[in-house]
Symmetry: C2
Subunit: 258 residues, 2 copies
């Protein structure tokens, strides 16, 4: 019998490395498919739609994936907002890209272009500018609730470690002195949303990832077992110094028996 009934799986550093394929990642997914074990790719990325994430896996990494196997921080943000927004308070000012915009529109929120908003939702936005920062700041000062998709500080690309959502969110936080509610790993809302999406209980699933500070802490914060794979960000030396260890650690996913 399998150890877990379902898997939550990080992407970059776990299943692929940037643009590069990672054969152990593909083999891991192939084994889950063969064993008919449900899984969900849980990503802090807020800019892409689930269809784009699935397309990238299918076309560039030979891992056939459908959009409903993907859960982004934007989808988790929309799911979280649905649980807290009253019917007459659905105006959202967005700092973000199409992944966030589409997720909120699909969840029946009204996107505003000025500070008359019930929520300010901020994620990575490569068209960020002072005017957007100002509108978000004024909206929050006037009472809008401040939600952040994620606080990832950087976005690796070919130019280097570019500013991530966390950088833009720090700007808004400094101007408003308001701390946002954060949705993505390592916070709880994205885990709650992922559990709901797979209709599964927390004791039946394991969170798989390469990054202690996001993937593993997300599991720990939600009482979900964790599997750290040393193919990405975190190193065995770092983990040896942590008080709260991952439930499981493997050098490569090839070493994991599902």
């Amino acid at each position: 019998m399998s150890k877990y009934k379902a898997y939550f799986i990080d992407l970059d550093g776990t299943i692929y490395q940037g643009n590069k394929k990672m054969p152990s990642g593909k083999r891991f997914i192939d084994r889950l498919k063969a064993a008919n074990i449900p899984y969900l790719f849980v990503t802090n990325n807020s800019t892409k739609n689930p269809e784009d994430v699935a397309d990238n896996l299918t076309k560039n990494h030979d891992i056939e994936t459908s959009a409903d196997q993907v859960y982004t921080s934007s989808m988790a943000t929309a799911d979280f907002l649905k649980t807290i927004a009253s019917p007459d308070k659905k105006r959202v000012y967005i700092i973000g890209e199409s992944g966030l915009r589409d997720a909120l529109i699909n969840a029946d929120f009204t996107i505003t272009s000025d500070e008359n908003a019930d929520f300010v939702v901020a994620g990575l936005d490569r068209a960020f500018n002072y005017e957007k920062l100002t509108t978000a700041t004024l909206a929050i000062q006037q009472g809008a609730q401040f939600i952040a998709t994620n606080r990832d500080t950087n976005l690796p690309n070919e130019r280097g470690m570019l500013p991530g959502a966390g950088s833009l969110i720090s700007a808004i936080q400094t101007a408003t002195q308001v701390e946002p509610t954060v949705i993505a790993k390592p916070e709880i809302p994205i885990m709650d949303g992922a559990l709901n999406k797979l209709h599964i209980n927390q004791q039946d699933v394991v969170m798989v990832g390469d990054n202690y500070n996001t993937d593993i802490l997300a599991g720990i914060n939600s009482q979900i077992d964790t599997l750290l794979v040393y193919s990405g960000v975190s190193t065995p030396k770092q983990i040896s110094q942590m008080v709260q260890k991952p439930t499981h650690e493997v050098e490569t996913l090839d070493n994991w028996t599902i």
Copy 2:
């Protein structure tokens, strides 16, 4: 005999209130002029040239002022950079407006448009955007020294409390994990620059302002006496809770004998 040989004087909240005249501010300056006591307006504003600041005082507040009576955080930044830059390392990437750009060009620095820079100097920039944030981030990651004109979190205007330089600087700091050297009040470099500009010793001057966290701490940090005037940001109740008090406190500058 006068208590002090010279005065450093804050502007907004001390000499005027936004666009509004403050008669006690004008009377204070008139008395300094009549007594022939030198003074310097020391402002955290980094966007304006000293000529513009002097013009605003002369035309809108009836306080005749010349540019050499004004010391902005941009001028202090240029003076500070001159003390630390070697002759072959004078490339500066700027996040800022004309006040900062002009001050650095006047001090013979080379303004770059890409990340090949020896310094990143950041202040308020109402044309701030993700591309500028990225260039600053990459430059600092590649070794450029990170200098901030000031960390004022907000800029009051008719729309509300807009994001200040400190907001933009938080974004860069989050993306780089590098803390900037800050020039303006309450930091020491702007006080050093002001002392140099008036050729005066710290025991002979008093820093006058309405804001404990900028004006008064600037004096305290530089062992300069301070005069807090309760016409702006700080209140007597706040000051009663501070361990380090201003040297002098007055309700209005009319109550101060020069």
